[in-house]
């Protein structure tokens, strides 16, 4: 029990440190600085990766629909937050679109400018998450009965269908068809991203450590035994799927904020693969692993390895080799090495606080031998 307390305190300290770091970065650097951007994007990816881990890592459901749910969240956010005044120009091909309100403006109306628009933005994110959750519930009814790889391909297919719908011109007044959604508000600093994602991830952690999380893990370890011990498979799989999709939806909304524009095209299977690979790098079944891997992945691909794409890397100037695309090529080789030779990823299924626990456990084992 004291160990547990120690771990909680440790985790809280790490979180506070992260928060302090982001506040410091925000204070010291302008919001367009690469460090700020890396933190923002990595935070969003961390949230989505953790949500995917909840499903794939903790419940053992191999789903590849993440990009589809993110797409829902992103569009919901964009559609609900574009200022009324800008709708005419954004929806220029659709007569200003079908929706003539903006949540941040509505909330600003009775809560004041600052607080109101933030509440409005959060509300739009929430709607995106709920939308994703509702969709997950509906497609989960048939799809979750499928076994591992069939489930993967069916969820992948579902994401493709969604993408097609959002590009359909008949829905243009809502989705702007194949044109971009833009001019919507976004969080102004990295701290806001960290704070929101932190709260949401904390919730996921709490859930995983609750009786429901334990039931999820039982389903992952042995479905037949779980069912025989009174765990309703359909209900718990659906629950995990819906909750995971909810957070993917919110993550999608936050990604839209970060990117500044929304189109359906980027939410393709490659995005899901990328997130899956982050989860694998971090360790399937480790929340802290997913978070670490997200930061590592985004930091190296967006910043550290940038030189690989633009001529000079580590002081070596070789524009012939270090040209566009080299970074991702190197990156995917690294990923393959991890997938093949370090299958447990950075953390395996351990969490960061478990590292505290290591030494006493070994001592105890030694004692048992005597």
């Amino acid at each position: 029990m004291t160990m547990k307390k120690k771990q909680t305190i440790f985790m809280a300290a790490v979180l506070l440190l992260l928060l302090a770091a982001s506040i410091a970065v925000d204070a010291a650097l302008p919001s367009y600085h690469i460090a700020v951007k890396v933190i923002e994007k990595a935070t969003v990816y961390a949230l989505v990766a953790v949500s995917m881990n909840l499903l794939n890592g903790f419940t053992g459901l191999f789903s590849l629909g993440q990009a589809g749910f993110m797409l829902l969240g992103a569009y919901a956010y964009g559609i609900l937050t574009i200022p009324v005044a800008k709708r005419e120009s954004v929806y220029q091909y659709f007569d200003g679109g079908a929706i003539h309100f903006s949540l941040p403006e509505i909330f600003a109306g009775f809560l004041g400018e600052g607080v109101g628009s933030t509440v409005g933005m959060l509300a739009a994110l929430l709607v995106g998450g709920l939308l994703a959750a509702v969709f997950a519930y509906l497609i989960g009814l048939p799809v979750l009965r499928l076994k591992s790889d069939y489930l993967a391909i069916a969820t992948l297919g579902f994401a493709e269908i969604l993408k097609a719908f959002f590009q359909w011109n008949a829905l243009g007044p809502l989705t702007n068809g194949s044109n971009l959604l833009k001019s919507y508000p976004a969080f102004e600093n990295a701290t806001a991203y960290v704070l929101l994602a932190g709260v949401l991830i904390t919730f996921i952690v709490l859930l995983i450590n609750s009786t429901y999380g334990r039931a999820f893990k039982a389903i992952r370890d042995d479905e037949v035994a779980a069912e025989a011990m009174g765990i309703n498979l359909a209900k718990h799989k659906r629950m995990s799927f819906v909750i995971s999709s909810f957070f993917a939806g919110i993550g999608g909304g936050m990604l839209a904020m970060y990117a500044g524009t929304i189109a359906a095209a980027p939410f393709k299977s490659t995005m899901t693969y990328e997130i899956l690979l982050i989860v694998v790098i971090g360790g399937i079944g480790s929340i802290t692993g997913s978070i670490l891997a997200s930061f590592l992945y985004i930091f190296s691909s967006e910043w550290l390895l940038r030189g690989l794409d633009s001529g000079t890397f580590l002081g070596i100037n070789a524009p012939g080799i270090f040209k566009n695309g080299f970074r991702m090529a190197v990156f995917s080789v690294i990923i393959m090495v991890i997938v093949l030779f370090f299958r447990k990823g950075i953390m395996g299924d351990k969490e960061l606080p478990d590292l505290l626990n290591r030494r006493p456990k070994q001592r105890k084992k030694g004692g048992a031998v005597k």
């Binding site: 799809v143 790889d149 719908f165 011109n169 693969y273 090529a329 093949l340």
Partner: protein
């Protein structure tokens, strides 16, 4: 009828191309129980190699080269990315397949600079225009289904009548028992990948003859659809994959014909989800029950 005829002809042709890819999926799944996510990318690489080879070399060298390179790629993928994971959980192998797909796409991006490569020297004769039933089309459209059926017939003969075919069937039925009976499982699996890649290469040559260029993402959609065809027909079954591919090819083109091009992809997946829900093992698939 006049208006939809070209779509039907196209549909049969596209179906044939999907069938050639789908066989690669279905064979591999039959033995390894693995969705080879990289198969669509192998198909794309075959297209790229074709573009490069046909511009630089005479046809009679270029085309065999495409086949050879693709087959080698398929073989290498299996040896490097799947063989080391033979005893790993299925999820790990599937992740490895996704990793390979990601790697091939990124390498192709690096080599092509992300620019779609134009099919500047299309294969002669088959890319000529002909008129059938008053519809003008490329000759490849007519040749594809014929060639597909021919290749499938050869493959079925190979699997039914030859020793390696028997070994493949044994491995598909029971992997471990086949191994215990002295079947060299690794050569059987390699052979399966070789066949799959060979057919994908043929499919790519036919497919990209109809397109102006090959992009790094060109493999994704045909690959996924071919996989859907394989599932639709009942994965593991070759006739199933072929029938599924023709059905999907036809439906897709007909949907384009009635003006819903945006949904031609979506339809395929809707069909997949519907089939999986009604008959999870596909049209020709065997029923399996879990032992408790």
């Amino acid at each position: 009828m006049r208006e939809i005829l070209p779509y039907i002809i196209n549909g049969i042709s596209v179906g044939g191309q999907y069938a050639l890819i789908a066989i690669g999926y279905t064979l591999v799944y039959g033995i390894l129980r693995l969705i080879n996510f990289a198969h669509g990318d192998v198909f794309m690489v075959a297209g790229l190699v074709m573009v490069y080879a046909t511009t630089a070399l005479p046809m009679y060298i270029a085309l065999p080269l495409v086949l050879a390179v693709t087959v080698l790629l398929g073989f290498l993928i299996e040896r490097v990315a799947y063989k080391p994971l033979r005893n790993a959980p299925r999820m790990s192998v599937m992740i490895s397949a996704i990793g390979v797909s990601y790697l091939i796409q990124n390498l192709a991006f690096y080599i092509t600079g992300g620019v779609p490569q134009p099919v500047s020297t299309p294969i002669p004769w088959i890319s000529n225009n002909v008129v059938v039933l008053g519809v003008s089309t490329k000759r490849v459209t007519l040749i594809t289904p014929v060639l597909t059926i021919l290749l499938v017939a050869v493959l079925v003969y190979l699997i039914k009548k030859t020793k390696i075919g028997m070994a493949m069937r044994a491995a598909a039925k029971d992997f471990e028992a086949a191994q215990l009976m002295g079947i060299k499982i690794n050569s059987v699996i390699s052979f399966t990948f070789v066949i799959g890649s060979f057919l994908a290469a043929v499919g790519a040559m036919l497919y990209f003859t109809n397109y102006p260029s090959v992009a790094i993402t060109s493999g994704g959609m045909p690959g996924l659809k071919a996989f859907v065809a394989a599932v639709f027909g009942g994965i593991g079954s070759i006739p199933g994959a072929v029938v599924g591919a023709f059905i999907i090819g036809l439906c897709e083109e007909l949907i384009k014909g009635i003006g819903y091009t945006t949904f031609s992809d979506a339809f395929t997946f809707a069909l997949l989800i519907a089939v999986l829900c009604v008959k999870p093992t596909g049209l020709f698939g065997e029923k399996v029950t879990d032992k408790v």
